[in-house]
Amino acid sequence: MENFLLKNIENPDSADIEEYLKIGGYKNIAKAFELEPKAIIEEVKKAGLRGRGGAGFPTAMKWSFAAADPKFPKYLLCNADEGEPGTFKDRPILEKNPHLLIEGMVISGYALGAEYGYIYLRGEYPHAKDVLNKAISQAYEKNYLGDNILGKSIKFHLAVHQGAGAYICGEETALIESLEGKRGQPRTRPPFPVNVGAWAMPTVVNNVETLCNIPYIISIGSEAYSQIGSKDCPGPKLYCVSGCVEKPGVYELPMGTSLKDIIFNHAGGIKGGKKLKAVIPGGISTPVLPESMIDCPMDFSSMPKHGSMLGSGAVIVMDESVCMVKVTYRALKFFEHESCGKCTPCREGTEWLRKSLGRIERGEGREGDIELLQEISENIMGKTFCPLGDGAAGVVLGMLKHFKGEFEEKIKAKGSRV
């Protein structure tokens, strides 16, 4: 399969508008403007595009809710917060292919009736901020952004909003709060952002990769697009592989490529010829899979059947030398730090989990600690305001399911394995 999302990124000047135009960039705007907005939503629906941020929600459905709301103005927000540990799939687009994202946002804005867009970019990507700002001003100069795009009286304005280091802002309602200049704490739903979002107006929040798929659908048509990858969630997918592999990086592959294939064929297998032990398949919030379970298609529908989730497609590979207790402890330190403090099970629960895990990790584990971890996790799962708590609990429960022996061993030995 030829790359679309990562097309031309080996070109050192790929972020320049002239280079983008040379490879046929921005042509899909004109093509899309030939269609009625409703027809574009229908195309995206027929293409079967599901949101690439982690939840896999059908994009066209989200759009149609916002489009149907009579309130104006509507807003289109690009979620470029990419904070899920292990995830760096959107960075090549943001740093090297910014015009694809802009093109996708102009078409999407037209489809759902949004005339204003913001890219919510994580604070940890300072280089991407400069690239995006330059790309946006180039797009304004060439009339791909503004009040009268391509002379068609279609309006779309775009700006970058830089986050400031808060994982929770990847959650769409927290992202909106943060865009409004507040602490990034999730909102009660309903009302949903598609009706009452940014500045109380209908708002669609889409991931970078999702928006970059739109020009592709317009370019090849929904029929051809729906033939790529898994039947019920087609299209190309960016998988980012890190950890103990020979060739870590971002790989654009058909959705549903097997985890095993991603690790061993694309990412070059395990570093230094060591043995594979476990994989976190979709970013730190997704449950771990032991080596014996990696022969599974990486898509939204298949992964839950194999006991995990596609998440952001961030594959973290761990070889035989990696201690699972240590990984779990580090993960929980992260969740405790990033818990926004709004709801008790998450705020308190992540701290308790981190403390208990720290004790085991330091060789001070007590009998009954495993049961305690289990109990705390079950008291978080499904009882928190947003998915952050579920992620934290899922990590612990997944580790205990597959690597309980390692925790027991460490408690018994009263000392570190590594």
């Binding site: 540990p85 940890e124 300072p126 280091g165 961030a314 761990m318 580090r330």
Partner: protein, 154 residues
């Protein structure tokens, strides 16, 4: 106080949004650039420029980890120790920075040259272990390599 030029910059930021409050995050970045950190004066100046209660400004400024609440060194080392970086040796780098420079989490060297912030994931997992030094990414770090890189920042 903020200079006329900086206040004008904040006015331009405000114009990008339908409400002035939305300019708070970018305005805090501007204040941090001007004052070096989120001092009382910095947050007061932002509150004044955006016509917001100081408590609201402080509440937001303390929520986000990239706003600094004490003075920082000339160069900011933001080192990732999350799982992908940890399993490839980030902890050794933390030890190295402590032993060589006396740097610990949120600390600054005695000469004010470097400050260290241990980060959650910075999205540099393909080049783990990775860090941001000011606004530059560095990856595939070893003790030797990080020592060389820091040598270039005076």
């Amino acid at each position: 106080m903020l200079s006329e030029t900086v206040l004008k910059e904040i006015e331009e930021i405000k114009a990008k949004y339908p409400s002035a409050r939305s300019a708070l995050l970018p305005a805090l970045y501007v204040a941090q650039r001007e004052f070096g950190w989120q001092s009382e004066k910095a947050m007061q100046a932002v509150a004044q420029a955006l016509n917001l209660p100081e408590a609201e400004v402080r509440g937001t400024a303390t929520f986000y980890s990239m706003y600094k609440h004490k003075p920082m060194g000339r160069h900011l080392i933001q080192l990732c120790t999350n799982v992908s970086c940890m399993i490839l040796g980030a902890e050794r780098l933390v030890d190295f920075l402590k032993n060589r420079y006396g740097l610990t989490q949120n600390g600054t060297t005695a000469d004010g040259r470097f400050s260290l912030v241990i980060m959650e994931c910075i999205g540099g997992c393909d080049m783990a272990p990775a860090m941001l030094l000011n606004t530059d990414f560095y990856g595939d770090l070893t003790e030797e390599k990080i020592g060389e890189i820091l040598g270039g920042y005076k």
